[in-house]
Amino acid sequence: MALDQELVGRSYPPSAVYEVGRGKIAEFASAIGADDPVHRDADAARAAGYADVIAPPTFAIVLTLEAANVVLEDPQVSLDYSRVVHGEQRFTHHRPIRAGDRLVATTTIEAVRSVAGNDMLTTRVDVATEGGEAVCSATSMLVARGLS
């Protein structure tokens, strides 16, 4: 079923606050094999000019994957989730995510289109501190493959 163009621009209420822990950053860094000490050692991070340990560049997915679920739960978004694959991903960083950040994620539908029977849905999740400082944006394009 084609997605309604009127969904474009729809924004959802901000997520609950996600508090970034040093342990979670270290766990994520280990899982991707990133051994730079700025992910684990606060002194090394400070020596590199950061206030605390910083997260690897794709860490934001920990918050944004969950936040973007509000779109799939929207009854007006008729996307066959069983046929969905991740088509594209973009991260734009204003600064690295760091331990101690208290972040909220706000999801917006950026684009919908249908090509050759496949529905494509692009969502942008803007991540900011509780105080309103923009930290990063994660844009995901999901493809629901048509029945061929």
């Binding site: 899982a31 990133a34 730079d36 794709t58």
Partner: protein, 141 residues
Amino acid sequence: MSRLSVADVEVGTELPERVFPVTRADLVRYAGASGDFNPIHWNERVATEVGLPGVIAHGMFTMALASRVVTDWAGDPGALVEYHVRFGRPVLVPDDGVGGEVTVRGRVAALLDGDRARVDLTVTSHGDKVLSLARAIVALA
């Protein structure tokens, strides 16, 4: 490490090629760390039921491995300010004691205003391109 200087970079500069082995254990660890527990990344039965040849790596895991080539080269994980990929073929990770692999090559494609460089990445698994339009913008010192 300290951040790479723009003086040390020119269009055409090649980043050191890296080959990352990928095992089922790596996928389980990534699932836990990222919160993406889709069973196609750890359960052979579910993966084949949905038409895949077998368990595949999370696209986001491949994207993360490729980012290491850029951040290790740049000398600072905070240097990567913009990063985009399109997911193409999946990375198969067989449970055969060896697993799969991801090979990442990178090349500086452009120098941008504000001491930034665009790095274009070529990401393959056993010769098949697994990411396309894989591009990173790096803020240099």
